[in-house]
Amino acid sequence: MPLGILLPLVICGIAGIAVLLHVLGRSKPASLVDEHAARAAWSDEFPDDPATTVVLSHDHRAALLQTRKGPGLVWPMGADTTARFLTDAKITQTTTGLRIDLPDYTAPHIDLRLDPDEARRWPALMEQSI
């Protein structure tokens, strides 16, 4: 196919599908219903390191977990979740919560939406690994 046709087709196709998905409500981030869901999401990534305690964020979008190897975090990746240990994490306060920077090319930073009380308490809970 000539590039003059292919290029606009690809650009319009990608943009059109993305806009359509957003309009159809497919941009909503995952929500952790309860502590059990947070544990399950963690265990899905780290089955050998079960969570001992779980703290859910007020909006159920993230969970801070403690394990024998140190604290970890579950957060939304679109409609799904992922998880990481907080080893060597750099924590910064933001106007909407916390920003976590990890030395991990596949999860370089996480923006957590937390209420002011959580934003004050969570860094202390995360400190164990820093």
């Binding site: 196919m1 990608i14 993305a18 497919r26 941009s27 370089p108």
Partner: protein, 312 residues
């Protein structure tokens, strides 16, 4: 010897079909409320990776094509362009695909290129387009060498490869359950390929087929989709970014970081490149084999069932 043969670039001609099929699948999911899931950023990442794959082909395609033409120049064989030659080439190229795909899951250097295709936690038609940008650097083009040396013109081989890729598009869906039994027995289907994308321990490293599932049955890598163990998609450790650059290059960065670690022997550095994904010099990580082993230790009843190690 016929040097000036041209075949259409079927993949680029299939782009309108890809877009139409994605819209139809999405419409089906929205109206029926079943048959798969879509998420905006996940789909956008997949589509950008697909576009990047086409772009990388335009930029780097000359390397593989130059290699194939060099082989074509030295082979004394020329099978011509008869329809049956194309049909035989299609079947043999699918066998070639099976092995390249198997290497892609068992050799980290090749996995570094292929991993992005498995990096979505969704399984829909956009996932099919989540293709590599770095395929040229795996040097898997050498696996096509026998076909060209046997007398299949490079244009025919690439044409068949394009058809193979187009076939694999429609099997990336949850909207289709199972096909008729005879079809499931011979062809790769949505059910077989869902298994391949599953991150459940039993489904790791199975169903490498492109078009014909018979290769997996012949070489012992076939695992059926089980109702009791629905595939969960994505990687063993899912990514924490939708950035297409990070998705495309993350395993190469991982290899680089592992190889330059201080205190390793030359052999260990080499193994970080070519051993199965998850291999580590100190045994601190899991390969698919150890994941399966740990799973059956936790779930002894599953031992010996499809995709899992047998009883000791």
């Amino acid at each position: 010897m016929s040097d000036q043969i041209t075949f259409p670039d079927v993949v680029s001609w299939a782009v309108p079909f890809f877009i139409a099929a994605i819209l139809i699948e999405l419409l089906w999911i929205v109206t029926k409320g079943r048959g798969g899931r879509y998420e905006t950023r996940d789909a956008l990442t997949s589509l950008i990776l697909g576009a990047g794959n086409v772009a990388s082909g335009l930029v780097l395609g000359f390397i593989a094509y130059g290699f194939f033409m060099a082989l074509w120049a030295i082979t004394p064989l020329d099978l011509g362009t008869y329809w049956w030659v194309i049909a035989v080439c299609f079947v043999l190229d699918d066998l070639r695909y099976y092995w390249v795909h198997r290497f892609g899951h068992r050799i980290r250097w090749v996995w570094a290129s292929h991993v992005n295709h498995h990096s979505s936690q969704h399984y829909n038609l956009t996932t099919a387009l989540r293709q590599t940008w770095t395929g040229t650097f795996t040097f898997m083009m050498v696996v096509r060498a026998p076909l060209i040396l046997l007398g299949f013109h490079p244009a025919i081989v690439l044409f068949c490869g394009g058809l193979n890729l187009i076939y694999q598009f429609w099997i990336h869906t949850e909207a289709i359950g199972k096909m008729p039994r005879w079809f499931e027995a011979v062809m790769n289907t949505p059910s077989h390929h869902r298994v391949h994308h599953g991150r459940n321990p039993r489904y790791l490293d199975s169903n490498y087929a492109g078009v014909f599932i018979i290769w997996d049955k012949m070489f012992g890598t076939f695992v059926p989709e089980l109702e009791a163990d629905k595939p969960r998609y994505g990687l063993v450790h899912n990514l924490g970014t939708f950035n297409p650059m990070r998705v495309a290059f993350h395993e190469w960065v991982g290899i680089f970081r592992d190889v330059i670690q201080p205190g390793l022997t030359l052999r260990e550095r080499l193994l970080y490149c070519i051993a199965p994904p998850g291999w580590s010099h100190d045994g601190s990580r899991d390969t698919s084999d150890t994941i399966k082993q740990k799973y059956v230790e936790k779930t002894p009843a599953a031992r010996g069932s499809p995709g899992l190690p047998p009883a000791e």
